[in-house]
Amino acid sequence: MTHSDKPILRVRDVIHEVVSPEGATVRILNGVSFDVARGEFIALTGQSGCGKTTLLRLLLGIGKATSGVLESAGQPIRGCDHSRAMVFQNAELLPWRTALGNVTLGLETKGVPRKERDQIARRYIDLVGLASAATRRPDQLSGGMRQRVGLARALAVDPDLLLMDEPFGALDAHTREALQEELIRLHEQMKKTIIFVTHDLDEAVLLADRVMVLSPRGQLAEIVDIPIARPRSDPEFLRTTPLFSEKRYYIWKLMKRLEAEAAGRARVSA
C-alpha cells in the first residue's frame, strides 16, 4: 500500500453528545464510520439538525467527539491545523479587511513572511476570479463574491482537506450555479479532498463522487456512489442525463424514508 492509497480521513464509531440547556444529554452523532480517499469530493447531506455541521466541525478540530476515532492522514485530529481549512456558511470575512487582506489571514497564522503572503493571496484571488475586486471590503462585495473570498482564504493555506459548510446555501440560483461550476473546475484542477455540506440534492449529485446521507438520528444511513465521469465540464447537460436524475431521485427517496421513520418513532415514543 503506497502512502496515497491510505485514506486521508478515517472516522470510526464517532459518538457526539451535548448537554441541552435543560440539562438533558442529546446524542447528535450516533456511531458514524467512514473513510475518505485523497482527492475525493464528498457531499454530506441530511435533514436539518441531523449533525452535518457538528461532524464537519469535529473534522476541522473545533470541539472534541464524545467517543470514537477521527484521523486525518493517519494522525488523530486534535484541534485545528493547516492541513484542514473551512469555508464557512456565510463566508465570515473580517469586515475591515479587503478581499486580499482576508485571504492572507491563514497565511499570517501559518507564519508566511509578509511579502510572500501578498503574492500567494493575490494568486488565489485570481484563481477564484476576483482579481479586479481584490482591494474591496466585504461590504462592497456581493454574496457570491464574498463566498469566493472565503474559498480563496481556505485554499491559500494549501490544505489537504477542504471543509465546506453549505457555502452556497444563501446565494441566488444563478450565482450558485456559477460557483458550483467554478468549484468543479477547481477540484478537478487542484485535486483537493473536499467535504461539502449541503441541503440541495441537485448540488450534492452534481459535485460529489459520493454522497453521505445522515439520518435524523445522527447515523450514517448510506453512502451513495455517483459514478458520473469527470471532468464534469457541462453541468447543465449533466442535469438532464438519466444517471443524474436516477441518483438524485434515489437519495430523495432515501431521505423521505428516513424522515418517515423518524416521525414514526417520535409518534411511538410520544
Binding site: 476541522l60 478540530g61 473545533i62 484541534g79 485545528c80 491545523d81 493547516h82 481549512a85 473551512m86 464557512f88 456565510n90 465570515e92 473580517l94 469586515p95 475591515w96 489571514l105 491563514g106 499570517e108 497564522t109 501559518k110 471590503r137 466585504p138 461590504d139 462592497q140 482564504r153 493555506v157
Partner: protein, 275 residues
C-alpha cells in the same frame, strides 16, 4: 397667466421654495438662531445690573482681558493636566479591563457588576472621601477624572467585545490563530467602533469631572478662575471659563465623533443604525 389666476398656489410654491432652500442649508438656520439669540441677549442684557447679568459684548471684552493678562491660558493649562492624566489612565486601564470582561465569562461574572455599579453611582457624593484620601491638589483631580471617564470606556469595550460573533472567533481558531492573534486581529478590530464610542462618552464626562473637581477642591484651573471671578461679582468674567468648559466639551466629543467615523468606515455599512 396661471400664476395670476391661482395666487394661493403661487404663495404655497414660494413657501415651499424657501423651505427647500433651508432644508439644503440647515447650518444657515443654526447660525440664524444663534445670531438672533445673541442679539436678544445683547439688547436685553445691556439694561440689566452688571453684577447680576451680562451680555455678549461684555463677555467678549472679559475674554480678551483674561487672555491678554494670561489668566485664561494659565487656567486652561492647569486644567489640561488632570484632564490628560485622568483620561489617559482611564484609557490605559479601561480598554484592557473591558477586554477581559468581554472575553472571559469568569472575569465578567466576578467583576462585571462593579463597573455597572460604579457607572451608576453619582461620584460627586464621594467627593468628601476622595478629598480625605487624596488631598486637594493634582492627585484628587486625576482620580475624579479617571473614575468619571473610565466606566463608559470599560462598559463599551466590554459590550463591543461580547458583540464579536462567535463564528468570527471560530474563523480565527480554524486557521490555527493563537489566543493573542484572535484578540489582536479579530476581537479588538471588531470591537473598535464600540471602544471609540466608549472613548467619546468618556471624554464627554471628563470636562464635567474636571469642572467638579476644580470647584470643590483647591482653587485652580478654569474652575478656580470661574469661582474667583464670581466672588469678585465679575459676572461677564465668570461666563468666560464656563464658555471655555462648554467649548472643550463640544470640541472633544466632536473630535472623537469624527475619529469614530474615520476609523471604522466599514462599520456603518455592516451595522447601519447601531448605537
Amino acid at each position: 397667466m396661471s400664476d395670476v389666476q391661482k395666487p394661493a398656489q403661487h404663495h404655497a410654491g414660494g413657501f415651499a421654495r424657501v423651505s427647500a432652500f433651508f432644508k439644503r442649508r440647515r447650518w444657515l438656520l443654526s447660525i440664524l438662531s444663534l445670531v438672533l439669540l445673541l442679539g436678544i441677549w445683547e439688547i436685553g442684557g445691556r439694561g440689566g445690573n452688571p453684577f447680576l447679568t451680562s451680555h455678549p459684548s461684555a463677555i467678549f471684552k472679559a475674554l480678551v482681558d483674561q487672555i491678554s493678562s494670561g489668566q485664561l491660558p494659565n487656567a486652561f493649562l492647569q486644567s489640561l493636566q488632570p484632564l490628560v492624566l485622568g483620561y489617559g489612565l482611564a484609557i490605559l486601564f479601561g480598554i484592557p479591563i473591558g477586554l477581559l470582561l468581554g472575553r472571559y465569562w469568569a472575569a465578567e461574572a466576578s467583576f462585571g457588576y462593579y463597573f455597572i455599579g460604579l457607572d451608576a453611582t453619582p461620584l460627586v457624593a464621594f467627593l468628601p472621601l476622595f478629598i480625605l484620601w487624596f488631598g486637594l491638589h493634582l492627585t484628587v483631580k486625576v482620580v475624579i477624572v479617571f473614575l468619571f471617564s473610565m466606566t463608559p470606556i470599560v462598559i463599551n469595550t466590554w459590550m463591543g467585545v461580547k458583540g464579536v460573533p462567535r463564528t468570527l472567533v471560530e474563523v480565527g481558531k480554524s486557521f490555527v490563530g493563537s489566543e493573542s492573534f484572535i484578540t489582536h486581529k479579530i476581537v479588538l478590530p471588531y470591537a473598535l467602533p464600540s471602544i471609540i464610542t466608549g472613548l467619546r462618552l468618556g471624554i464627554g464626562r471628563v470636562v464635567i469631572a474636571m469642572a467638579i473637581a476644580e470647584l470643590f477642591t483647591a482653587l485652580s484651573g478654569l474652575g478656580g478662575l470661574l469661582l474667583k471671578r464670581s466672588e469678585d461679582y465679575d459676572t461677564a468674567g465668570t461666563f468666560v471659563p464656563a464658555l471655555v468648559f462648554m467649548l472643550m466639551g463640544i470640541a472633544s466629543v466632536g473630535l472623537l465623533g469624527w475619529l469614530e467615523r474615520r476609523i471604522a468606515p466599514w462599520h456603518k455599512a455592516t451595522s447601519a443604525g447601531n448605537e
